[in-house]
């Protein structure tokens, strides 16, 4: 069974944004915590007379995401983190294709690490994330939120820049 991928959120910055023309955002500096996501479809292994024969892709499965963290401070526009996660206070869904579907928001998780004169950037992008309201539990600085994104994977990109302005990037 796929246990999912765990990412340590220490020193990460989480940005949640809605789908407004000028997105409403909340950017949280994380002290400690983790981010887990399960992605990938189940493959079907077909048998022929009891022997492994062919492999077929199974049905697509939405990415399951869990965020559990302690935040240090938060930069927001005119709404709170909870408003954007839950779609309250005038927040607009990021799902522009099916705007009448349940509310969705975008989540960006960024890591910045400096080493010598090189700075490394890591980014996980969760588009059209829909929270499971019963799994949202904010307690002062501690937040636990679970939900699904209407996609089969969480894009992950890495890049770096040095003082001489050279940069490279890769996306998975």
């Amino acid at each position: 069974m796929n246990e999912g991928i765990f990412v340590d959120l220490k020193d990460a910055v989480i940005t949640v944004s809605d789908g407004s023309a000028t997105p409403k955002t909340a950017r949280l500096r994380i002290g400690d915590g983790g981010f887990t996501f399960k992605q990938g479809s189940e493959r079907e292994y077909k048998l022929d007379a009891g022997k492994l024969w062919r492999v077929r892709e199974g049905n697509e499965v939405p990415v399951e995401v869990t965020l559990d963290f302690v935040w240090l401070h938060m930069h927001t526009t005119d709404v709170s983190f909870s408003d954007i996660i839950l779609g309250k206070n005038g927040c607009v869904s990021t799902d522009t294709v099916y705007p009448c579907d349940p509310y969705a928001c975008d989540i960006d998780i960024d890591f910045t690490k400096a080493c010598g004169n090189v700075t490394y950037f890591d980014n996980y992008k969760i588009a059209n994330f829909r929270v499971e309201p019963q799994d949202y539990d904010p307690k002062e600085s501690m937040v636990k939120v679970s939900g699904k994104a209407n996609s089969v994977e969480v894009p992950h990109s890495q890049s770096s820049s040095s003082d001489s302005s050279s940069s490279s990037s890769s996306t998975t």
């Binding site: 500096r29 240090l72 401070h73 938060m74 930069h75 600085s141």
Partner: protein
């Protein structure tokens, strides 16, 4: 309010002329910027932002301070560019390439464009000095004007004293007059 009968509709104008042999001399008029209202309408003054902390308080963070510092630099670049643009905008012989009247970001290019004018470095310095003089930003000129004012006042005082002493000497009764 007026000074010497002048109001805001008559800004200070400095004229610089760059002599040319093969073509007409280049004449540039630098007109003082009287109002920054248009700038204020288009560009908001930077504000030091704050972050929300778990205890409910809001305080600046390194991030908001850094952003404020960057925004301030950008703001003053745009303001300087606006001053350059507005000072030179009435010159029909000047064509801006990357500067647009209503695009504050493009105003940052004004200084670069002035540097790229087909004039020598010395002429470019004269033009910048004229822009500063027109806008009352030339320290040397302000100091010169202040010195000239103080010298004039001092000489007027000396003149007044000499009149008083000569009247005292010429008085037949011997009483001091005009004291």
């Amino acid at each position: 309010m007026r000074i010497k009968g002048l109001d805001k509709s008559k800004p200070n104008i400095e004229v610089v002329i760059f002599p040319r042999h093969d073509i007409d001399d280049i004449v540039i008029k630098c007109k003082a910027v009287i109002s920054y209202d248009r700038f204020s309408k288009l560009v908001a003054e930077p504000i030091l932002g704050t972050a929300l902390f778990p205890d409910g308080t809001r305080k600046p963070t390194d991030e908001t301070r850094k952003k404020f510092s960057e925004d301030s630099i950008s703001y003053f670049e745009m303001r300087h560019g606006f001053m350059l643009y507005e000072t030179l905008k009435d010159n029909e012989n000047i064509e801006w390439e990357s500067v647009s009247k209503d695009d504050p970001i493009s105003w940052k290019n004004c200084a670069k464009e002035i540097d790229s004018l087909p004039i020598t470095d010395a002429e470019s310095n004269r033009l910048v000095a004229a822009i500063n003089r027109a806008n009352g930003m030339s320290d040397a000129l302000i100091e010169e004007a202040e010195q000239s004012f103080l010298v004039r006042e001092a000489s007027e005082r000396v003149d007044q004293k000499s009149i008083v002493s000569s009247e005292a000497v010429n008085s037949t009764s011997g009483a001091v007059v005009n004291v």
